[in-house]
Amino acid sequence: MKIRQSHLIHFFSIGIFVLLILFPLFLGLKRILLASEGWSFSYIHSFQTHDLTSEVLWFTISQAFLSTILTIIIGLPLAWILARYQWKRAPLVRAILTMPFVTPTIVAAMGFLAIIGKGGLNLIGNEDYRYMALILAHAWFNIALIIRFVEPVISRVHPSMEEQLKFLQMGRTPYHRIRYLWIPILWPSILSGAILTFTFSFTSFAMIRWITPGNQSLESFMAIHSSGVGIPGYLTELNQLILAAFFLQLTILIIGLAVIGILQKKLSSVIPHIDEKFEKPKPRKVRFILYPALIFVVTPLVSVIVGSFRIQDRTKRGTYFWGLDGWKRAINGSYAHTDIIDATMQSLVYASMTVIFAVPLGLLITKSLIALEKRSNHKARVAETFLMLPFCISAVMIGLGILIGFMKWQPDLMRQWWIPVLPHIIIATPFVIRIFLSTYRSIDSDLIEHAKTLGLSHWAMFWNIEWHNIRPPLIVASLFCAAISLGEFGASWMLARDGSFDTLSVLIDQIMSKPGFDPLTYPTAMAVATVLMTLTLSFFTIAEKWREEHDGGGF
């Protein structure tokens, strides 16, 4: 393949994905701008003073801030234990602590609802407890983020770095060692994890919708009112508010992503590269931290399963009995547009489609980034930042772009079953890229250069060098993609809510939205959530197993 031709392919693959992200957003924004009668910074002021939205920004920021603080408090000691000690079951503990992050957010919401609900601690009637449950749920969901950011950094600090400090005047007390060693080394990774946690809590939708339904965040405000916007001459003020919400959210998220980019650069300069391997001691006195953490992680998941069998007595309110009625109703589907079997099949079809498109696209983009890195590291960094845009443009914003930009422009698209796959591909591809990037960066460049001197073609090099290395991450990326697609809620809820193409996560929302008292609403929703959770966690478990055994790339 000629060099110019290969450059074109690289440029095309990156360009097409950036377009896939930006084009619907651009069209959506254009329509909302039209319906808002143009842009004005006064919309932001209106947003803060309007009856409908005056509380939204404060609620969004405050809950995200508190969630971040709690996540750090819980996550840091766990990251420390996992990094500093080695024991037989450490990989299992690490996998369990990562489970919340891959659990669909709607399942997490159901889990916490089951805990604080009438069949659980019965705290659901109090708004303050609901708020606390939301903060806990966000911390629960994001613990893995702090662990994944901080643990590798602590692991790379050779014991001699702390030992050496003991011989120096400025390292003779534990305070000094924290001040002069641990804080300078750890703050970039802690702050990176904190910013991402803030971002995810900021853009949380399913949890806010179901745990604190009396409050709205910027994300839920945009999602809930999305159907009424983008029509010129109709609800102009609402369009302006949505535009302000969109602008505010995008600004905060882009700043967050930019800071993470800077921190990652800083991080690489503070950690020395030490080849020497060292033995870690067995953990001592950590069970007081580890056991409660594991119980905290597992309880919401178990509560979902238990909740599917707990049925409130129709005649005696407040009393519960055990039964399979929730499961029976989930299977016969008499309660919603579709039944659990159809929704499972639909979810699996979407997951397969996402894998089919996102994995090759992610692989091609990764190869393009690697090629770009060799020519211009700066350009590669810029491209990588753009490719990570879906991390900072939330699922609802992507859904909003597709809904307003495409579907209101071409109403026929509303009936196209593949439409919800689009946001799934957009959301999953950056994960695929991250998984492949670490693999490609670890391939010995000597091997490739040697192959070139032997006159091997591009395809021969791919099969003989790359394929051998990318097989494990290919499987990990596929499973991860499928899990992300299965659990995706925000965009799917916006695009597939007419009952034709409902996924499991949308089905849970439909069941829970049923008006009036019905003792089977909760158990039925929990039954569907149990199926969704089992599917997602199965994919994740296989991926983790594969990653452990074959080093399937990093994320």
Binding site: M161, E163, Q164, F167, L168, Q169, M170, Y180, L181
Partner: protein, 197 residues
């Protein structure tokens, strides 16, 4: 005065048994032995990073077995120089002593003008010089050197060894050098101990 009396340590096998010697302020000693003979472990026991099974270690007549590492007044230089990458050369020196005259010590270790240099830009010899300078400004009474020059080429190793000896004499710091190189051991000190594992 640093005094070891019948110090022994086992770890699945006997590492060393009944090690005894006395070292006065300003005196130098070499410890030789093949890999796995317990040289590094002995140093770690002396400075308190590892414990030993029997015997005693006294500093000026006081048993320091239960004295924490940071309070023994003994310094250690690791085989691979441990430098803190979040600090520049000057910051690394200041870790040893916040009141240190950085220019003076950099002159002593032949790194004048390196104050603001990033430590990952230093060569192997420069990094080990910096580790040595940083240990010196911490004003230890005794300094333990765990094969600090082993990764350097022979010419540089000899040069750095000579510079280290001059620096230790200048500051009157007692020291122990662990090495598996006979020539280096003889050059460093008149007295040496052989650990044969």
């Amino acid at each position: 005065m640093l005094e070891l009396k019948d110090v022994s340590k086992s770890f699945s096998k006997t590492l060393f048994r009944n090690i005894s010697f006395t070292l006065v302020q300003g005196q130098r000693l070499s410890i030789m032995g093949p890999s796995g003979s317990g040289k590094t472990t002995l140093l770690r026991c002396i400075c308190g990073l590892d414990s030993f099974d029997s015997g005693s270690i006294n500093l000026d007549g006081e048993n320091i077995q239960n004295t924490p590492t940071e309070k023994r007044g003994i310094g250690l230089i690791f085989q691979k120089p441990v430098l803190y990458h979040h600090l520049n050369v000057s910051g690394n020196i200041k870790l040893g002593n916040k009141n240190a005259d950085v220019s003076e010590i950099l002159e002593l270790i032949h790194l004048s003008g390196y104050e603001n240099r990033r430590v990952d830009e230093l060569s192997g010899g420069e990094a080990q010089r910096l580790a040595l300078g940083r240990s010196i400004v911490a004003e230890p009474r005794f300094l333990l050197l765990d094969e600090p020059f082993s990764s350097l080429d022979e010419t540089l190793r000899k040069k750095l060894l000579q510079e280290t000896i001059e620096l230790l004499e200048h500051k009157r710091i007692g020291s122990i050098l662990v090495t598996h190189n006979h020539e280096e051991a003889e050059l460093f000190a008149e007295n040496s101990i052989l650990l044969d594992g």
